[in-house]
Assembly symmetry: C2
Homo-oligomer: 185 residues x 2
DNA sequence: ACCTGAACACCGTTCAAGT
DNA sequence: ACCTGAACACCGTTCAAGT
């Protein structure tokens, strides 16, 4: 939230991870260099190596943190279980429609292409979310095949949207609801 | 297609670009280093700098080549115009369902996140394809709003699939056709 | 405990010299 | 025309020394 002013006390590992998140979201994995982190945090490289063994350890810490934030989102979605299916779907989609995490999400998926650990985390998160979406369609009374198909359409649409960004007319929440109506009707 | 055997004559700029494609698809943009290209082609760095001004010029050449291959695909899709809409959609989706280009497609989209030129090319390609898909739904008799919505669902589903890979049961062509039936019905 | 500053290895880049 | 091989600048890494 607040940017650490230059010379405002010592840093924690957390400060480095936050800065890593920001660089990742702004300019992607390629830009995530120690020098860049240092200039952002107004310290020299030695400081980095006091907090982290090496770049790989730092990146692992960043990935762990991302995994933790995914676990939080999973908990939020799990709590929707008590809602009726159509409403549950609506709330799930709200989670994805928030653009504030898209840049980071893309960056992490990009990262996953060249890092097996990150890839495994992303894949596990995808599987969990997909199953939750499929379950909604099962709860709506569709048979296994039909639920699978409809869950795919919705899930891939959401991921695809994060990558491509808005196309065509401005849709917004209204169009999202119409899409859900089409998929659940 | 064929790998250039070590010591088999001199290289062309084209050989470098091919090697670049392969590295990009295999291990992403981060792995696209001059040293890596050289060891793949069995030459030293000086050779690279005879063919290309610098790394940026090489990357531009690779991007141009990708743009050219997109123009070819665009032409293929444009030629489908004479087909009836439902069949046209089926053929379009066949273009996307071929996994052989997915790794490169992801790599180029990843690249686009940190390169404005590549980003512009990808965005233009996306716009063109999206409009072609939307036109099919218009031709099927849907009004502008409905065609826009259905085109989004199909387009984002295709892009999302390329990123996430198969989820749930094995779908294949049969499930693709069922999805098209659902979207066009 | 946390950081500086200088040192060293690696990859992008240059260039004179080779065939 | 096309390539080698050695040189140099940059960023990841180390470490003795500072507060």
């Amino acid at each position: 939230m607040t940017i650490r002013p230059a010379g405002a006390g010592r840093l924690s590992a957390d400060d480095w991870i936050q800065a890593g998140y920001a660089i990742l979201a702004d300019d992607g994995l390629k830009a995530l260099k120690i020098d860049r982190l240092c200039s952002r945090l107004c310290v020299t490289k030695g400081s980095f190596y006091w907090h982290f063994k090496d770049l790989a350890a730092f990146l692992k810490a960043v990935a762990d943190r991302w995994g933790a934030s995914r676990d939080e989102r999973r908990a939020v979605i799990a709590e929707l279980e008590s809602l009726e299916p159509r409403e549950r779907l609506s709330r799930m989609l709200d989670q994805f429609a928030d653009p504030s995490g898209w840049a980071l999400e893309r960056a992490v998926r990009e990262w996953a292409r060249t890092d097996a650990t990150v890839e495994a985390r992303v894949a596990e998160s995808d599987r969990w979310v997909f199953r939750a979406v499929r379950q909604v369609f099962v709860d709506l009374g569709f048979d296994a095949d039909e639920a699978d198909l409809r869950a795919k359409m919705l899930f891939y649409t959401a991921v695809g949207f994060i990558y491509v960004g808005p196309q065509g007319q401005r849709g917004g929440r209204r169009q999202r609801e119409r899409m859900l109506d089409a998929l659940t009707g």
